[in-house]
């Protein structure tokens, strides 16, 4: 089957605009993660979904960032009033439920967000 799909692949927008980033996880994967990767840096955890609920939102940098997931499938990460420091690659990963032993995270190719 298909892997994790993210869209758009690249997004350029003006400072102050809102953006929505989409993640389609692997079918049947109930766990979904969002990460941010700034230029030359490692990945930073943003949020974790189990099903449609988000028990860990501790990595969201500010209240301009929000995420939702519907139907235990697609997730969207929304950034409101974008700032230049939001420029980064946003990566999504999904996995089977962790409670049945370790499960690998499968990553998408990310969305490169550039704020002008």
């Amino acid at each position: 089957g298909a892997g994790v799909s993210q869209s758009p692949s690249n997004k350029v927008t003006e400072k102050g605009k809102d953006v929505e980033l989409r993640c389609d996880p692997i079918s049947g994967h109930t766990a979904l993660y969002w990460y941010r990767q700034r230029l030359g840096q490692g990945l930073e955890f943003l949020i974790y979904f189990q099903g449609n609920s988000a028990p860990d939102k501790s990595g969201l940098p500010s209240d301009r960032f929000s995420a939702e997931r519907t139907g235990e499938s697609v997730s969207t990460l929304t950034i409101q009033r974008t700032q230049q420091e939001d420029s980064a690659v946003y990566l999504c990963a999904s996995s089977l439920v962790q409670g049945q032993g370790w499960q690998p995270q499968h990553f998408g190719d990310g969305t490169r967000l550039s704020i002008l």
Partner: protein, 115 residues
């Protein structure tokens, strides 16, 4: 909180030679996982190898092996018989065992394999 440190921003190796990438970490957890991920220019993160902290035996995956020193909190990656396709960013990473995987990543080492 966990931290992962990679002190080698860039490394290079001749094709067919062996190279070792270094990583140290800090945690108060007693059981956890350590990983090495590869990120080629395509941006997709690819899991190279995983080590479970309670296992003393070092993990190996074909040409990739680790040297896990739990007391020293050190976790290095050895790549043998380096190939041009190994050129990529390599990230050392940590997650606690049990529950969901909130992975903490290092800042990465850019590896260049020279023909």
């Amino acid at each position: 909180a966990q931290t992962v440190t990679q002190s080698q921003p860039e490394m290079s190796v001749q094709e067919a030679e062996t190279v070792t990438l270094s990583c140290t970490y800090d945690t108060s957890e007693s059981n956890y996982y350590l990983f090495w991920y590869k990120q080629p220019p395509s941006r997709q993160m690819i899991l190279v190898i995983r080590q479970e902290a309670y296992k003393q035996q070092n993990a190996t995956e074909n040409r990739f092996s680790v040297n896990f020193q739990k007391a020293a909190k050190s976790f290095s990656l050895k790549i043998s018989d380096s190939q041009l396709g190994d050129t990529a960013m390599y990230f050392c990473a940590f997650s606690r065992a049990g529950g969901y995987q909130k992975v903490t990543f290092g800042t990465g080492t850019k590896l260049q394999v020279i023909p």
